[in-house]
């Protein structure tokens, strides 16, 4: 059973549709800690503002997710859901993230390029990523965001827009993607399939 976390900051329909299309049995919760405790895998989608993740703290989901990750349950954060894995974001400095990754997310540097970064961009996948196994050099995925995580040793894929940033992070069972796999055609479905196959 996959538990998808709803923190009331946007639309889950596309993520649920893609997971179900791949044969996953999906439960959605905005507060049921039991569903997190029993989850075989957890997906935290996210669009919108980083401040909305406060709801995870208020409902106790943050603690439950931290516990599940500690037990080795595979976790996938999407977009703001990935950014939440860091210490925080300059989008909402008062709101802490989970802190799995020590760095802070920040806004793209203002200049001549448009912000948000919207559209299809390519991935440079680092060796050894389970989430991005079989993703060939230069495959494209769909992004829509104004904030991003820095490139570190936990970065699983790099994308370039204004500057190189972390398109995906991965450390053991903790995974995150800045792009939207549910909207990234066959490449995105392949990545979600990899997540569904990841062993705890």
């Amino acid at each position: 059973m996959i538990t998808v976390i709803d923190y009331k900051a946007g639309n889950l329909t596309s993520v649920l549709k893609a997971l179900r299309h791949l044969g996953a049995e999906v439960e959605v919760t905005d507060s049921d800690l039991g569903l997190v405790e029993r989850a075989e895998r957890i997906v935290l989608p996210g669009v919108g503002h980083f401040a909305a993740t406060k709801r995870l703290d208020d409902t106790g989901l943050t603690g439950a997710i931290r516990g599940a990750i500690g037990r080795g349950v595979p976790f996938l954060g999407i977009c703001v859901g990935m950014q939440w894995l860091y210490s925080g974001s300059t989008e909402a400095l008062e709101q802490p993230g989970l802190g799995c990754f020590a760095e802070t997310c920040s806004r793209f540097t203002e200049g001549t390029e448009k912000i948000p970064h919207v559209g299809w961009n390519s991935l440079e996948v680092r060796k050894g990523s389970r989430l991005l196994a079989d993703v060939e050099p230069g495959e494209f995925v769909y992004f829509t965001h104004s904030y991003k995580g820095p490139v570190t040793s936990d970065t699983a894929a790099i994308t370039e827009y204004i500057e190189p940033f972390a398109a995906a992070v991965e450390r053991g069972n903790v995974m995150g993607v800045q792009f939207h796999p549910e909207k990234s055609g066959e490449t995105g479905l392949k990545i979600l399939r990899n997540f569904l196959g990841a062993r705890p």
């Binding site: 919108g48 448009k114 948000p116 919207v118 559209g119 299809w120 479905l189």
Partner: protein, 259 residues
């Protein structure tokens, strides 16, 4: 490297895909769900479904069509037409759209843009603008007049000024249709598109007038568009997104290929 997007547009009337010239003389071009799936398969980077008659007939967006179309679609999917309130938008999102496009209702009440953006994020709000050059204005392009209700009603608003307000209120993208060029297949209005694209910091999708590969190359270059929308070029088997994108890539425009 970010690529330019080719967006397949399905104008829908009474549950069928249609295409007209300058918003009139519409002809049938198939089932929306079937057409959307075909476009995605053939390389379209995104699908837009516009219910072109919803606003003036006062109908709600065809939620059933949206649901059927979204079912097996795994590329971004935007729906417009008849969205008047944040609740209308919510129903469209629940039916499977990733973005909504608002036009007439946003001009009548611009706080609609703020309201949808607050609940669903700026990335989910596309402000569609239908504009016609105003030859009486001191700058006929930047002061092109904005029309509503499918191009039937002038608003007195000026295109650049309205696009800026939309951005400030939290629009994630602008879908700009040139009413002068729409349906003519003689090329996009590159001057109009560039004027809006330079005035805002959010992506601009150019629409209206696509007929040849050259037209797309022009609007991505001279027109400074981030994406281009095409309807008539794809219908009746004239061309596919993939074919178009391969030619554009050869002409030096960065595209998502293979797709």
């Amino acid at each position: 490297m970010i690529t330019k997007r080719i967006i397949a547009c399905l104008d829908v009337h009474a549950g069928r895909v249609v295409k007209g010239v300058k918003f009139v003389d519409i002809v049938d071009a198939g089932d929306p769900a079937t057409q959307a799936a075909r476009h995605a398969r053939e390389g379209a980077d995104e699908i837009v479904l516009l219910d072109i008659t919803a606003t003036h007939e006062g109908r709600a967006t065809l939620l059933d069509t949206v649901r059927r179309t979204a079912k097996e679609l795994f590329v971004p999917f935007c729906v417009g037409g008849g969205i008047r309130t944040a609740q209308d938008a919510e129903q469209v999102f629940e039916a499977g759209a990733d973005k909504v496009s608002v036009n007439s209702a946003a001009l009548a009440d611009p706080t609609l843009i703020d309201a949808i953006g607050r609940s669903f994020g700026a990335q989910a709000v596309v402000v569609a603008i239908d504009a016609r050059r105003d030859q009486k204005a001191s700058d006929p392009v930047r002061e092109a007049e904005v029309f509503v209700q499918g191009g039937r009603k002038p608003t007195g608003r000026r295109v650049v000024e309205w696009a800026r307000e939309a951005e400030q209120r939290g629009a994630g993208e602008i879908l700009l249709t040139s009413m002068d060029a729409d349906g003519t297949r003689t090329g996009f209005d590159c001057e109009l598109t560039a004027a809006v694209s330079e005035a805002v910091g959010i992506p601009v999708i150019a629409s209206g007038g696509a007929g040849t590969v050259e037209h797309f190359r022009d609007v991505f270059g001279r027109g400074k568009a981030d994406a281009a929308l095409a309807a008539s070029i794809f219908h009746f088997g004239i061309s596919t997104s993939r074919g178009l994108k391969e030619e554009l890539q050869r002409a030096g425009v960065s595209m998502r290929l293979p797709c």
